[in-house]
Structure formats: C-alpha cells, structure tokens
Amino acid sequence: MTLHTRARRTAAAAGLLLLAAAGLAGCGDDADGASGSDTTLRVSVFGNFGYEDLYKQFERDHPGVKIVETSEGDLGQYNTQLTQKIAAGSGAGDVVAIEEGQVVNFLQSADKFVNFQEHGSNDHKDQWLDWKYAQATTADGKDTIGLGTDVGGLAMCYRKDLFEQAGLPTDREQVAALWPTWDAFTQVGEQFQDAMGDDVHFIDSATNTYNSILMQTADETYFDHDNKLIIDSNPAVQNAWDTALAMSDAGISAKLKSFSNEWNAGFKNGAFATIACPAWMTSYIEEQAGDENAGKWDITTVPGGGGNWGGSFLAVPTVSKHQDLALELVDFLTSADGQMGAFEAVGNLPSNPTLYDTPALKDATNEYFSDAPIGQLFVAGASSLKPVYLGAKNQPVRDAVENAMRSAENGEKSSSEAWDTAVSDAEAAAG
C-alpha cells in the first residue's frame, strides 16, 4: 500500500466518523413513539411501591398512555439523584416519590412542585391522616407539594424457628406478652443469647432498633418546629440512644449495617432473630430471605406501643410536560383504591384512615410470615400514630447519629465519646 492511498483512507475514515458524530447529535428528542397521540408518563420511585397492577388499570382507563417506572434500590442514591434533577430544573420524572425524611427538604423549593391545593386537594384531605397531609404542606398552609402514599406503622418481625431453638414461646400473642417495654425486650434478648451462643444474635443492629424507638416516642426528634437543632436537649433522642446501645452492650446485636451486603445475607443465613419492622420492611424481608425461609418468619407487636417510621409522598415537578395526566395518576395512586392496591401487592400500610376500618385491611394476612394478621398488627399501631416533625436537615443529622452509634457498637468508641461525636457532627450537618 502506498503512503498516498493509506492517507486518503485515513482521511476518509476520519470524515465518516465526523459525519457519524453529526448524525448522533441529531438524534436527540425522539423519545415519544411515532404515533402522535401516545404519551409516556415517567414515575420515579425507590424500593418497591407495588404499583404494577395499578399502572395497568390506569393505562386501561387512559388509552394511549404508557407508564414507565424507574425504581432505585438505594434511598440515599435516589435522594441524591432527585435533588440534582430538581435543582437543575429538568430530568426528574412526571411523578416522583418523596420519602418522609426528605419532604421537609423539598418544601424549601415548593415552587419546583405543583401545588395540589390549586387542584382541589383540600376538598378531600380527610383522605389522609391529618399530620400526613400537613407534612407535605408549607408552614403557611398554602402549598401542598405531595400527597401521602403509605405510613410506616411499626411491628416486630421475628424468626419462630430460632425462638423455638432458644426455648422461647413462638406464638404471636405470647411473644407480644414477653416484651411490653423495650427493657423487657432487651431481657428476652439476653435469654435468647444465653441459649444460642454467638452464631445467631437477637437483633440485627442497634441503629435499626434506635430509629424505631425514636420514631415512636417523640413528636420532635432532632429539630423542633422552628428548625432549631435540639438533639442535645431532647430526652427522646437520649433515651432511644441509651436503650439501643444497652442492647449492644448486652451482646444481643449482630452489628450489621443496614442495607449492606452482610445485612442482606443475614436475612438469608438467619444471623438475627428479630428486626423492628415498619410495614414497608415486610416485602424487603420476603425478597431478601428468599423462598427457602418462607414460614420461618412471623410478626407481632412492637414494644412500647405503635409508632411510625418512614412512608412516602407522590409529587409532580412543575417541569413535567404532562402535568394534568401526572396529577390524575397521583390522585389515582393515593386514592383509597390505590393505597389498598399497594398494600395488597407489597404490604405498604395506607395513610388513609378511612381504610383502617375496612375488612379488606383489617383481615389481611401475609402468607410468607406464617399468615400473620398484618392488617390488625399494623393498623393497631397506626391508629395511635403520632406525627413526628423532621427538620430540613434530618437526613444528614440522622446519618451522623447512625454513624456515631455504629462506631460505639463496633467498639471503636465508648458510648459517651460516640454521643459527643454525634452531637458535634449533627451541629456541623445542621449548618
């Protein structure tokens, strides 16, 4: 090959590639299908909202509408992405889920979301627990950015087979009677631990238990209603901290970090016998522990009465190109039927109090959990639910406290050192 032709080939190839580049730049917005009337609605959620069948129903009622859901497994990752997209003013879904801990945060930029009050949400706000509706409404009461989906009514999930091995009762009622209080719960844990040795532990981690205790005892946690940091002066935080770490000191914790590989493996391998269970946790356990553990789990009441941990809202970003449809979808998904459908699919407890008296919810059982009466269990907790106010900076503060607690649990720091760290990190995070 002569130099000349080779060069020409190279030049031709380079030219072709530049053409390709130009062509690529041209293939931007052809997302929506060819037939003009089709609309694609994007829904962004995290975890499992149990909406598949509801989407199908909505699509049946709205010919030409296609719903596409993206689900992000990691809540932290989801919040980061959503924040980036809301801040940049594009790229979020037509409907986005907002977790309880983040909703105050997004209230700061309420203008970025459609105000449901302008679309008549006040007329049927008895559809939600009062505080649930208020949580996604600005302080002046004029702007509601999200409508409630579920609440995280608390119960306690436990492994019957492990209880039996440890010589403890396995019946739900009897187990519930074992632990009217968290202190009693800790004593049961010590009994269990003495019987079982070191291969299995009573609870998965201090942090999970801590969050449950905290969310059931207080109407304020880290911030008061004026958004002032009160971590150091709030006895509820101190009490939850001491109670949870006492369990760790008693040696009944498997010390597994929530959502880590090891924690996930712990469900499968039976590394712990109990875990504090908000309603949404049941589907997680089922997926994580797998079919081989079906029937080994059961559910009973949580020590210290009910409580709420977690739960979500659906919102519509103002940049959505299909606002009317998106609003319709949110209305449908958060309606009594929608919430019930989600409960039947994955066990997420409705935030609609009128449903709590319906047989469909009250008599519901969960096959995987030895037919536990999840309706009764979670509703019992839900009726006594108290609203908990979470400040805008709840997430970073909670991260700081959880990290400090883990460092105490792992023996890297003493409890008091860890507490000091928690307070100073919380102050830094609260800014």
Binding site: G76, T83, N105, K257, S258, N261, P396, N403, K413, G431
Partner: protein
C-alpha cells in the same frame, strides 16, 4: 514549560526554542485553527462549569433553597472543618499507600517483562487485563471478596489462624482494601508504560553491568531506576491526578446505608466523597464547591511540584 519527553532535544528543536513564537503567517493561522476545536469544546463543557462552580463557592447556596453572597466565608469555614481535613488526610493516605507499592511493583514487573521471553505479548496482555475492568465492577467484586462474614479474604486468613477482620471498620484495613483495588487495576498498566521506557535503555548498559558482576537487584537499582526517572515522575503525576479524585472504589466499598460518609468515623471518606456529601446530602452547594476548588488547587500544586522535579532531573541529566 516543562516538556515531558525523556529524549534530549534535537538540534532543530533547540534552534526553534532559541527563536520562539513567530512562524510564517500561514503557520500561525493553521496553528490556531488546529488547536481551536479542543479549546472551544473545553471552554463550553469544561471551563464554564469550573468557573461557575467558583462563583457558587462564594455564596451560601442551598441546592434547593435560598442563596446569598458570602464572599470567602466558605473558605474560612473550611479551614476549621475537621471533616475536610480528615478527608484530605484519607485521600493523601490512600494515595501514598496505593501508589508507592504500585510503582515499585510496576517497575519490577516491567523489568521481568523485559527479559527474553516466549509469548511476550501474552504476558503483557495478562498484566493489562485488570485495566479493562470497569471501576464499578472492581468495586463490586472486591467488596464481596472483603466481606466480613462470608468474604474470601477472611476465609483464607482464617486458615492461618487470623480472626475475621471487619475491613470497613478500621482505618488501616479500609485503606488497605481500597489500595488493593486501585493497585490491582493499575499496576500492570503502569508496568507496560515503564516497559516502553525500558526498551529505550541500551542493552549494552546491562551487559556491561553483568560483566562487572552486578546482580539483577543491583542492575535494577543502578540502571533501571535512574534511567526511568522522568517516566517515574510522569506516572506519579498521572497517578496523583487520579488518586486525588478517588471516589467510586471507597463508595462501593461502604455498601449499605450512608455509603457516602466512608465508614462510621469517616475513616475512608475521600475529598470527592466529601464534596458529594456536602452537595447532595447536606444540600450545601456553595460549601461543596469551595471544597472542590481547594481540591483542584491541591492537585495543581502537586502537579506543579512534579513538573519542577522533572525539570530539575532533566537539568541533571
């Protein structure tokens, strides 16, 4: 301007350096035309975001809420921020822990690959294999290998009587595990770069040393390392740029909740992770931007130091 070539300048180049700038007009125009695509694209997609970030760093800028002018407030806050210093310490620590053994190993490996071998290309491909694996894959695989309860590493250590180590829990162990990930991916790659430089070292030198009775270790110390010095400095520079931006490996290593904080006591949170945490968990876009800028300055300083070093070395030669 330091030119990073290891070859001495040709007479033509030297003549040109003595008479800088000014080519004929056509050459001037062509020169600017040829470099313009790079500068245009960079101006829009590189420089603009960078300058905008600096602008943001002069504000109290909440990602979702209010923003107000704060001048250099973020920068003075940063100087008293323990978490920032901790992140800087981790970044530099992991960088040193990862880079020093990596460079030594790469050099030794290059020396070995420079022997007369059968199937030379296959060996070379073998050491380059890790480099085609995406960082995300590396993070996922190694995090499984280093798992506390069921990881292969702890299982192997168990055979020699070592208790299971919670790799994420201690500063030393987390640094070590992350360094292993980095080194696994980059050692072979750097070895090939050193090998290329080694090829330019005249064999006569080694032969002469052999005749003088120098063993392989002495040859390595007295011939290989000195001859490769410019390349070593350059590879260090590149490793610095990468090392200061370490993000994905430590993030994936901390599987589960609060991954971005790099461990319970932030024992392996790097600067980039801290930037990310401040911006997206803490919503402090302004403050995060100032951390990012300081990070950029640190990288530039180390880069300048490298360039200076290189110059000095070239002068010595």
């Amino acid at each position: 301007m330091a030119t990073l070539t290891s070859t001495p300048a040709t007479p033509a180049q030297r003549r040109r350096r003595a008479r800088p700038g000014r080519g004929p007009r056509g050459e001037q125009v062509a020169g600017y035309a040829f470099i313009s695509p790079f500068f245009l694209v960079f101006a829009v997609f590189g420089l603009f975001p960078l300058l905008f970030t600096f602008w943001v760093s002069l504000h109290d800028w909440s990602l979702l809420g209010d923003r107000s002018w704060s001048g250099l407030g973020n920068y003075s806050k940063l100087l008293g921020d323990d978490h920032f210093w901790n992140a800087l310490r981790n970044t530099l620590g992991i960088f040193v822990l990862a880079t020093v053994p990596q460079l030594l190993l790469s050099l030794v490996l290059a020396q070995l690959l420079n022997q007369r071998l059968r199937a030379r290309t296959l060996w070379r491909m073998g050491v380059l294999l890790p480099n085609i694996t995406s960082i995300a894959a590396v993070g996922i695989i190694f995090t499984l290998l280093f798992a506390r309860d069921f990881g292969l590493v702890n299982w192997l250590l168990g055979h020699v009587g070592v208790e299971p180590i919670a790799w994420q829990q201690h500063r030393w162990s987390s640094w070590l595990a992350i360094s292993v990930m980095v080194d696994w991916r980059w050692t072979g790659y750097n070895a090939l770069i050193f090998l290329a430089a080694l090829q330019a070292v005249p064999r006569e030198l080694y032969d002469a040393a052999s005749i003088d009775g120098a063993g392989p270790v002495q040859q390595f110390r007295h011939i290989t390392v000195p001859m490769l010095r410019p390349t070593i400095v350059f590879v260090t520079l590149v490793a610095t740029i990468g090392g200061m931006q370490l993000f994905t490996e430590p993030l994936l290593f901390n599987s589960g909740a609060n991954a971005i904080t790099g461990g319970t006591t932030r024992q392996f949170q790097t600067l980039t992770m801290y930037v990310y945490e401040q911006a997206f968990t803490g919503q402090e876009f302004g403050y995060a931007s100032s951390v990012a800028w300081v990070m950029f300055i640190v990288i530039a300083l180390i880069g300048a130091l490298n360039a200076l070093l290189l110059r000095r070395l070239r002068g010595v030669q």
